[in-house]
Amino acid sequence: MRIARRMAVTTTLAVLLVAAPAHAQSGASLQPRTGGTLRMTSLPEPTTLNPYFSSDITIRMLGNLNLEGLTHVAPDGSFVPALAAEIPTQTNGDVSPDGTVVNWKLKPDVVWSDGEPFTSQDVLFTYELIMDPANPVLDRSDYRAMESVVAPDNTTVVVTYKQLYAPYRLAFPRIFPAHVFNARTNIADDPFNQFPNVTTGPFVLTSPATADSITYQRNPRYREPGKPYVDEVVFKFTPSRDVAMQTLQAGEVDATYSLDPSYLPQLESLPDVRVQPAPASVLQLFMNESCPSGPQQGDPSCSHPILGDLRVRQAIDMAIDKRALAQGLMQGRVEPTGSLLPAGLFKVDRPAGDFNPDGARQLLDQAGWIVGPDGTRARDGVRAHVSIMSVIGNRLVEQTVQVIEGELQDVGIETEGKGSTLSVLGGGFATNSPFYLGNFDMAVFMRSVPVDPQVYLYTQFGSSQVPTPQIQTGQNWVRVQDPRLDQALAAAAGTLDDNQRRAAYASFSELIQADEAVIPLYPTLQVDARKTYVEGWGPTNINEPVTWNIQDWWLNQ
């Protein structure tokens, strides 16, 4: 009965897919209506509302309602001014020719929700707050790169970098009100973290979160006249994603986000629900090129007995049917990709490696891996036996690993699945993480596509980023060391010109795909859903949670 229902649902889905674009266009021409309460789920409930203290997507999603920064990221990955008047570039003269001095001009006449003016002093205060060692700030890397931050006048902030810093536009994504704290920068235990009630965004908090919901009210002092359209936005803390979808269906909420892609057919069969799935993180298979055990464990100069050979890595790529994975697990809504940057400002298009199990077998034969009597290959007495590590508890990852195991066994490579928690796998030397120690063969891991990929790519593939007990930094878990990769990454880091950077990332992508240390499998889908009467909802943005344009949402009912 379950299967029959699923099939019925898939048929309706096809019909809906054709109908959907026409509907979306007609919605855009309507005149927005003001008023009403929008109800959304929040998964899970936030621990803090201070975005500098947490990397949780929920906190960024809620922060979009009331907190603002210099810029925000548009769905195509480009930077759009928020509290800044414009994005400083070398072309408009706001970035010095050597790229080290950035002049941020702020929007004049912006006021905080309590009526106080927003000025450059608030940006300065935010900088001091981030740098105060007493605050549990997660990530100061964008600010450590700064030499100084000064405010020559009320609407100008001058940031001087120690050296050219390509991701300079990431600075100050949220700005805190200086006047509320009276220059006190240690705010680790401040109630403001739980209840940020003086803000500049389209909505404000007038009462703290309760145990099961948080309510945002319209900010009458919001800088865009007539906006936001909705009077009130309520988020209901719903810990289970399965239940979040049910509450949308039951009419308890008007919108929900980050649902499991396997629900897509069911969601699309609902006449009063609209979904806009968009690619989000990329699921990757990566391989350890260094010795997985012994005295030289994790040492790039000691080659992995099986995976150290490029032909074996190529064969593994060929043995895996990326298209079938994307088709089966992402409902055919994504194309497999050969790129680690399939979306965003520095998007690189690369086709996924071909699925060719026969070619894989030939390559393995050539490499000297001969099929034994039990069907598993061996060379010089070494069995082609590899383990695949993955994070337990993620349905998508588990299913992907199962498929890959079957396909590798099919070409004569024996596999062994090993699951662990994210905190163990990625926890660094403190948790004896196999990725850091180098005692692993292969791993399936999900990684998000960053807004600015420089730090992300450098820490994963820079020659100097191989983690060792002496230098515990770096996440070059695959232990690839290639001067050409270093050159491409240096080229991208050495310029502020987006086109030059894009070209550098393109050549980087080509090199890393040829090395086969990482096989991008397919992009996962970000599934946000809403009732049809919620209008103004922008395209799902991979860099910002769905609420990025909440000021434009309105209720057509």
Binding site: T37, T48, A134, S213, K236, T238, P239, V243, E252, G427
Partner: protein, 323 residues
């Protein structure tokens, strides 16, 4: 009696200390830690991680941390959550009433269902009532709450809503927005989680009451009572039930702590902001202060309820002597 209570309370002190040592050691054995998840993010630098480690006091040796923590709770300070930086006592005070409400009502409903049903099944053994009760309790206990909870939501919230029937709320304690918060609204939100919890527990209790009652019904003193002409009703309610209640009280005593600790699964499914969810969330986030605080408080409550139950035993069965 007073002496007995005092002895038990004094005995509880080393027990509690032992519990805190065990729980604290368990947190050390857990792979990972509150900072481990950040380590895999390329943007979080080792320097920041070191600073965070200091902030959370993780750079101190474990015994020092334990003694610091113990010293603080003796002053009534459970510390701050490492995830939200809020006082642990605030978090618990916020959740405890919600859990007590849900679990308390569920327990009352459980007993209201299980005791009459189990009684009837025992008195009319091998009748259709008995067979139906046995079947229902087997089925009820075999279905896990995460499954029955989802089914209940799909049927009573989603489908009823689709059919235009008065649907029951699926999640939370009150309806969002201004319409929520009235007594009928709050009661409607209790229906599904209470029903799921109570049906699951009642299926276990029904069988227990039935078995215990059957044991008692076959005893000589009841035959004597019956021979002396005691009415069947009085015989069962006044003489048999009181004896049969003893093992049920044992089961209840084991159940009482969940009044405080909450039901992790049901609270997660029905988005009920209770202690079970707080525990789960803290465990997932390696929020040691909250975990330790929860376990300590629940342990105190368990020890206390165990004592109360022993006192109830004595009252139910005068043969039990307390020393």
């Amino acid at each position: 009696m007073q002496r007995y209570i005092l002895t038990r309370l004094v005995q509880a002190v080393p027990l509690l200390l032992l519990i805190t040592v065990i729980v604290f050691s368990l947190t050390l054995l857990l792979p990972g830690g509150p900072l481990a998840e950040f380590a895999s993010e390329p943007s979080v630098s080792p320097a920041d991680l070191q600073q965070l480690r200091q902030y959370y006091g993780l750079d101190e040796p474990a015994p020092v941390r334990y003694l610091q923590w113990l010293g603080a709770i003796l002053h009534g300070d459970f510390g701050n959550s490492s995830a939200s930086h809020q006082p642990v006592s605030t978090l618990i005070a916020e959740r405890l009433p919600n859990t007590l409400l849900l679990q308390g009502i569920a327990l009352i409903v459980t007993l209201a269902l299980a005791v009459p049903l189990g009684l009837l099944a025992a008195v009319r053994q091998h009748s259709w009532v008995d067979y139906v009760a046995t079947l229902l309790s087997s089925v009820g206990h075999a279905i896990p709450t995460f499954w029955s909870g989802l089914l209940a939501i799909i049927f009573f919230s989603v489908q009823f809503h689709a059919w235009g029937l008065p649907a029951l709320p699926a999640t939370g304690m009150v309806t969002l927005g201004s319409s929520g918060g009235s007594l009928p609204d709050r009661m409607a939100h209790l229906v599904l989680p209470v029903a799921v919890l109570a049906l699951f527990n009642a299926s276990q209790y029904t069988r227990f009451v039935r078995t215990s009652m059957l044991d008692v019904l076959g005893q000589d003193y009841l035959r004597t009572a019956r021979a002396k002409g005691l009415a069947e009703r009085a015989l069962i309610v006044r003489h048999a039930l009181r004896t049969a209640a003893l093992p049920v009280v044992t089961l209840l005593a084991l159940e009482i702590p969940t009044l405080f600790s909450g039901a992790v699964v049901v609270e997660t499914i029905f988005a009920w902001p209770g202690m079970g969810r707080l525990f789960l969330d803290s465990a997932v986030r390696f929020d040691y202060p909250v975990l330790l605080g929860l376990v300590t408080i629940v342990s105190v409550l368990v020890i206390f309820t165990a004592l109360v139950c022993d006192l109830v035993y004595a009252w139910l069965d005068p043969r039990i002597l307390l020393r």
